[in-house]
């Protein structure tokens, strides 16, 4: 059961081969066993979990169960949950308990899913290795010496190590896809506006988007069905008819045009990663899909654009953590300024402070035009590149990350090297486009490689269909990490 997919668990529960309580207990036991080493979870409350599981079993008993009823899920600790503390990986919120549930949490609870706990993450989702968490780094189940990627590293490892069949994540510049790639699982960042941001702690509001992380594309589709939907409490939420994201799983690949941007295969791409990605692309070609060279001439600017816009928004979004109303507050303050300075100095870690400083700088009088405004213009050009490319192709394919998982501490002293990890994942959120990552092989060290599929707006069903077809013909996604045997 621990190795089953969401779809398989759904059948098992429906057939009463297992109860939701039994299932929850299985995963709770595994978390108990592995979390000491992997540190994927910040908060686990077995009683809370079992209560939800009992409720799911009761629903099923009265014939009131959907496909996800009773299936356990881990939530990134960026989603506000009533009754379970929400830390966002920060000392600032180390003891914060939200009085309300995020819309995503509500939706998944309405679908009957059972919360296993809150997963570790880079502080305020700022990081690509899960090393910036106040609660310590998360370790990769494929090699405990390696990082799992970030910022949704806890969710990625929870799924990869079979501590949870599925998890929620959030993606701002690659925070779902990059850790999915580095841990050998699947992760989808939906079109901006598809999943409500209400109750998802903001990092960079114009980029943040919640999405599912699981072991198969089919599971992602099932989860997205429950997560997506209009929310009138989020003004950037898109109002459109509900759709079944599983509807294209049996997609015919013949004739599909796959865009291959040279910009995603340039300098800095690890040879092993390139080999695996090209192998996957060859498979698609064999199925009748056509490879079309496309150009994303401004993709190279995505990283600097992102590192202006995201910190700018973050500097403002994180201003509310001032020690006045909730969260950490410095003790014995001399005056108001002293309280602000010490609260924020103590409450935030280095990377968060770095981004607040950068963001404050680029919004400052005299620098706004040169940085923020310029970055906004380039952002539009990047979106226009994609729009032009989609005239010639149905989706774009390439590597998710330039390398496989790297060693803990390897890039902590060099922020730019760290930021380069997201070079392929950043363009999609800048354009608001959906993108997903699925496993497509391993490097010589046995570390997983991710394949990224980026689609046009609202093309999630197509992307999931593409991914599912590949997974029907491959077994990368079925492999169990060496360090966490079943």
């Amino acid at each position: 059961m621990l190795n089953a997919t969401v779809a398989e668990l759904s059948s098992a529960l429906a057939a009463r081969r297992i109860s939701s309580v039994e299932l929850a207990q299985l995963f709770l036991d595994r978390i108990e066993r592995l979390n000491g080493v992997l540190n994927a979870f910040i908060t686990v409350d077995a009683e809370h979990t079992l209560k939800e599981a009992r409720r799911a079993d009761a629903s099923r008993a009265r014939q009131d169960a959907g496909p996800l009823t009773g299936i356990p899920i881990a939530h990134k600790d960026i989603y506000c949950t009533r009754g379970l503390r929400t830390t966002c990986g920060s000392r600032m919120l180390a003891n914060f308990v939200s009085p309300y549930d995020a819309r995503v949490i509500e939706r998944l609870a309405e679908a009957g899913m059972v919360t296993l706990g809150k997963t570790n993450m880079d502080e305020f989702a700022m990081g690509s290795s899960n090393e910036t968490s106040y609660f310590g780094p998360v370790r990769n189940a494929w090699s405990a010496a390696c990082v799992p990627g970030g910022s949704s590293g806890g969710s990625a490892v929870a799924v990869s190590a079979r501590m949870a069949p599925a998890a929620t994540g959030t993606d701002t510049g690659g925070s779902i896809r990059q850790p999915a790639a580095l841990t050998g699982i699947c992760g989808l960042k939906p079109t901006y506006g598809l999943v409500s941001r209400y109750g998802m702690i903001a990092f960079a509001s114009s980029l943040d988007q919640g999405g599912p992380m699981a072991r198969t594309a089919q599971d992602l589709a099932l989860l997205l069905n429950a997560m997506a939907g209009f929310d009138n409490r989020d003004s950037t939420s898109v109002e459109r008819a509900p759709e079944d994201y599983s509807r294209m799983l049996e997609l015919d690949l013949a004739g599909l045009r796959i865009g291959v941007p040279a910009e995603f295969f340039g300098e800095g791409l690890d040879a092993a990663v390139r080999k695996q990605v090209e192998g996957a692309m060859r498979w698609y070609g064999e199925q009748g899909a056509r490879m079309v060279p496309v150009r994303l001439p401004n993709a190279g600017l995505a990283l600097p654009v992102y590192y202006v816009l995201a910190p700018a928004e973050a500097s403002s979004n994180l201003a509310r953590y001032d020690g006045v109303r909730y969260g950490h507050r410095a003790q014995d303050c001399a005056d108001l300024l002293d309280m602000y300075v010490r609260t924020r100095t103590e409450g935030f870690g280095e990377e968060v402070k770095r981004r607040i400083l950068v963001g404050t700088y680029v919004l400052s009088h005299g620098y706004y035009d040169a940085y923020y405004l310029q970055a906004q213009k380039l952002r539009r050009l990047i979106a226009r590149d994609f729009a032009a490319a989609y005239h010639d192709c149905d989706l774009i394919m390439g590597p998710t990350a330039p390398t496989t998982a790297f060693a803990l501490g390897a890039k902590m002293d060099d922020p730019v090297q760290m930021y380069l990890n997201d070079i392929y994942t950043i363009p999609a959120p800048l354009a608001g486009l959906p993108a997903l990552s699925i496993p497509c092989g391993f490097d010589a060290k046995g570390l997983p490689v991710g394949l990224q599929l980026t689609g046009n707006y609202f093309s999630e069903a197509l992307l999931l269909g593409m991914a599912h077809r590949y997974q029907q013909a491959s077994d990368w996604h079925l492999r169990v990490p060496a360090e966490t045997p079943l």
């Binding site: 506000c80 903001a202 403002s316 201003a319 509310r320 109303r325 919004l363």
Partner: protein, 477 residues
């Protein structure tokens, strides 16, 4: 040396919506601290703003009332600064593209009407309130006001002097209340002004360096603060000094302005478009719908009433000082003849206004309704009541004793216009006061007045004074 005082006002008018501009919490005044602060107002992690359409409609209504351009697309921006009563660490406001641009407010000045040009009016949220007493060296924060919708109305530096600034502020106040966008309650902070003041030598075209004065929470303080500030600036300049751009705070207790922060200390607000809110897009149909529901504006109504009834300008101004006042007047005179209209207008502008002022209430709370006033004026014009008796009846109506006719009957106040009865009263007075008769005949006019007074007294004020005069003159030959 002659100086010209140049003033521009920034006015925050609280919009009359039931709920806040970006949350569903109530905007009602006076609740227990933080009882009306929801998750969004407290800025809990993860919450998001959702724009209240009612606030947008009120802003449009204001823009139409001042003949401004309503921008079909406007943008909400974040104004970033730290303060304990600013929960998000930024205020959502409008910066580069406000909803209302341009327009003018007509202001009635002694020398005639002046149209004061507006720069813009934009939507924003209010902050909370810091409470510094009762917390033993700590401060309390009340977020009930946080998120209350405000329209910030910015005038051009078109005002010349304190009196003109106050006249504009009063006209703007009357307008926003008239069109129903603001309740105008200054004690509750629903209408607040900051003044930008500079001075220059008469004849100069360039503006002087300005100072912004905050905390002008009454018209009286505004006038005194601007006067003080202008005197201060003139003093500095005449001593060969220089005015530094700064923000100053008015202290009503000491009647002076004090420096709050210099230009160097000014915040860098780091404005940028709020990514949580999409640009506000307005359709022509939305604007036209609001235009169609606009009431007649004060200036139009003042002109119409003044011309239709040939009223002097000051009377017309009083009668249109508020929409309720104008409604009251028009209800009281519906279908009346010109003499009745004239008497009614004078009565409302005089007696009624004085009583309202004394009690500090508005016409909407006047205990005498238009029909009652109409009854009173009717008895005045048909000669039943003298002016003096009418005032007595009016007092009784204010005290809730009923209609004019009821009071007249109950108190027996009917004016005596019967010639026979008056002749008899005059005869009795003349007989009882031979001394005054003597004096009058000796040429003392004062004695005549005394005799009139005696007749009025004898009739308990009910005698028709015109008739008494005539009879006395005839009898005294």
């Amino acid at each position: 040396m002659n100086w010209e005082i140049v003033v521009g006002l920034e006015t925050h008018a609280q919009l009359r919506t039931r709920s806040k501009i970006f949350s569903g919490a109530s905007t009602a005044f006076g609740a227990a601290p933080n009882a009306q602060a929801c998750a969004v107002d407290v800025a809990l992690p993860g919450v998001l703003p959702v724009l209240n359409v009612a606030a947008v409609e009120l802003a449009i209504r204001f823009g139409l009332a001042v003949g401004a351009t309503i921008n079909r697309s406007s943008v909400f921006a974040r104004k970033n600064y730290f303060y304990p009563d600013l929960p998000k660490g930024y205020q959502i406001s409008q910066y580069e593209r406000p909803i209302v641009q341009g327009g003018a407010v007509p202001v009635a000045l002694p020398e005639g009407e002046k149209r004061v040009a507006l720069t813009r009016a934009h939507l924003e949220e209010d902050a909370g309130k810091s409470l510094h007493e009762d917390f033993h060296g700590m401060s309390g924060i009340d977020l009930n006001r946080a998120g209350t919708p405000l329209l910030e109305i910015v005038s051009e530096p078109d005002l010349r002097g304190a009196k003109e600034a106050v006249a504009y502020a009063r006209a703007l106040h009357a307008l926003v209340v008239w069109i129903g966008v603001c309740d105008g309650n200054m004690q509750e902070g629903s209408f607040r002004c900051d003044a930008n003041v500079s001075v220059r030598r008469v004849g100069e075209t360039a503006y002087g360096t300005r100072c912004e004065i905050k905390n002008l929470n009454s018209f009286r303080f505004m006038e005194r603060a601007i006067e003080y500030e202008a005197r201060r600036q003139i003093g500095v300049l005449e001593d060969g000094g220089r005015i530094d751009q700064e923000t100053r705070l008015y202290d009503p207790e000491r009647d002076e302005t004090r420096s709050m922060r210099s230009k160097e200390e000014a915040h860098d607000y780091r404005y940028f478009p709020d990514p949580d809110l999409l640009p506000l897009m307005l359709g022509a149909a939305d604007i036209e719908r609001i235009r169609a529901a606009m009431p007649e504006l004060p200036a139009e109504r003042r002109k119409r009433i003044g011309e239709a009834f040939a009223l002097p300008a000051p009377t017309a101004a009083i009668l249109t000082s508020s929409r309720q006042m104008a409604d009251y007047f028009e209800a009281a005179i519906a279908g009346a003849d010109p003499e009745t209209v004239r008497q009614t207008a004078n009565w409302i502008a005089g007696s009624t206004s004085a009583k309202l002022n004394e009690r500090g209430i508005g016409i909407e709370d006047c205990p005498v309704d238009p029909a009652q006033l109409r009854g009173l004026i009717g008895r005045l014009t048909d000669g039943t009541l003298s002016a003096k008796l009418a005032r007595e009846v009016d007092d009784a109506m204010w005290a809730g004793e009923g209609s004019a006719d009821e009071i007249i009957a109950k108190r027996g106040l009917k004016q005596i216009s019967d010639a026979g009865a008056l002749e008899k009263a005059v005869d009795e007075v003349l007989a009882a006061n031979p001394r005054q008769v003597e004096d009058y005949r000796a040429g003392k006019q004062k004695a005549f007045n005394s005799l009139v007074g005696q007749v009025m007294k004898a009739t308990r004020g009910k005698a028709n004074p015109t008739q008494v005069n005539a009879i006395l003159r005839r009898k005294l030959g």
